[in-house]
Symmetry: C2
Subunit: 316 residues, 2 copies
């Protein structure tokens, strides 16, 4: 009987530290990620991949602004949609190719995904997530005046727009993703945390916001009822006292233990923190097991010999 | 028993003549197209939509170039993928909304689509399709030298890059589209003629080319075996002697008759010509019926009281 996994591939699956995102580089990285994912199929996993879009959507916003004197501009939700196409394509083609190289027959599909947030989410009145280019103070103030943007000063690099980061409530395309997963299609979905939309009666409307991609991955994993939620990141595992002399690796922990370490501020907000929080969400919501690892160790981690395994209760 | 239709929505489904493509305009147009499509569902049609991407991919290429000093550039295949995301999103959200307004329960999905062409296609050595921005002669010559572009002079507006327009051979995601169509999902696929790829052994590789969207629509319609292929365009029907005193509307013609009119040069190459050619391809390939009409008359046309109906043989 096939088991199902949702794998949240990290930002480094396409653009690694120090790279500028040249498409040939992104394809080379996508190929490595795809090879790791395809390796899992021997063990009969059914897989949904989610991914981030940080550098790509930043580039899209900058391109849109630079060319706005010549062609129509793209608001953030449209840029998100475009990056789901762009990144989905690179991952999908790489998966097709690695399947072919491994002599495996399997369909691959990218599902454009909208994620519903609440217009009453407290985050909507308190934008915190920086997006797009850096500006001088004067330019930033003009943007704020003309476009109603909220602006923050970003450590020594200038001024930047901030948008809300509301909680994901529902994945609009959940049922389609579920159908295809049940049929053994290898899926890419909810890229970049999904395209943020609000419900207005029966209608959906796109908004300019960023939904945390790890939270969306946890939500989708729960809604699909997958057996395993894998968070692929830079680190091979979760560490306590990271980069201190007392550093130690977590091989297997319960959700309660991980939560206690998180309360002890073991995991930095911009890095391992969101991964750990998503793992806890998934397990608290009824999920059974989460693995946090890097793509190089994905197969070993899923087979039980690498990565950090977080389980609902000890012994399970 | 549900019947199936592939509807190739026209360029005007998102950006109409004279519009600049501001997203609010594109959404308003998408809403009208979506309302027409949703109207068909009362008659139990299962539907795949395809769409063009001309203005959107032109804008994407221009944005990529304008910002190439700051962020990574996007080759044409990546721009195509991004526009499938962008346009798919606007159409998909509009379809969701019109379904909601009509009180209909139906899933909607956009399938990122790659289309295979042959590296040996004669078109590959004879690029004819202009794409992207206009350049001065000096800039165009520099692009040609640095990037190996083929350049043509474009009537009084400057110089422009041309890329090959090869024949579509296969739709990589055909089986996924077929599965979802069979399950009654309202689909958007093969946007912009698909992302052009070539096969190199078992691998796919994206190329910089434009595949005619009407040809891809005909190919996909045939491969899916749909009952009806609808080509939505600016005109409510196909006309003979268009805009002449002798103008007359074609209500119902056989494929042979339409082909004869086409040989008689009744249909201009940049306009109705490709629609007519795709209709003929579909019918010659085994398809039963094609309708050419505008989205405003879509429902009436499918019910038989509007548009031009092209059938394989008279009386069928």
């Amino acid at each position: 009987m096939a088991r199902s996994a949702l794998i949240a591939v990290g930002g480094n699956s396409l653009i690694r530290a120090g790279e500028k995102g040249v498409i040939s580089e992104q394809l080379a990285n996508a190929r490595r990620t795809a090879a790791a994912v395809v390796g899992l199929l021997d063990d009969e996993w059914r897989i949904v991949l989610t991914h981030g879009n940080g550098p790509q959507v930043g580039a899209a916003l900058l391109r849109s602004e630079r060319a706005s004197d010549q062609v129509y501009g793209q608001p953030l939700d449209v840029c998100d949609a475009a990056t789901q196409g762009e990144i989905g394509y690179l991952l999908q083609q790489s998966l097709c190719n690695e399947l072919g190289a491994a002599g495996k027959q399997m369909h691959v599909a990218t599902i454009l995904t909208q994620v519903v947030v609440s217009p009453d989410d407290p985050a909507m009145k308190n934008p915190t997530k920086p997006v797009g280019p850096f500006y001088s103070r004067e330019d930033a103030e003009e943007k704020a005046r003309l476009l109603g943007w909220q602006i923050v000063e970003d450590a020594a690099r200038g001024y930047r727009r901030v948008v809300p980061s509301p909680e994901p409530i529902a994945v609009v395309e959940e049922d389609v993703i579920r159908k295809l997963l049940a049929q053994g299609v290898l899926l890419i979905a909810a890229g970049g945390g999904g395209i943020p939309v609000v419900r207005e009666g029966e209608r959906l409307r796109g908004i300019e916001a960023v939904i945390d991609k790890d939270r969306v991955a946890a939500l989708l994993a729960l809604r699909l009822g997958v057996d395993l939620f894998v968070i692929s990141t830079d680190a091979d595992a979760v560490y306590l006292d990271y980069k201190k002399p007392t550093q130690r690796r977590l091989d297997r922990v319960t959700c309660d233990e991980l939560e206690q370490h998180h309360r002890d501020r073991q995991f930095p907000p911009g890095n391992m923190g969101p991964k750990v929080e998503s793992a806890i969400r998934f397990l608290r919501g009824g999920g059974r097991e989460v693995i946090i690892t890097c793509y190089e160790q994905l197969l070993d981690a899923v087979r039980g010999t690498a990565g950090t395994h977080v389980v609902a209760e000890q012994g399970k």
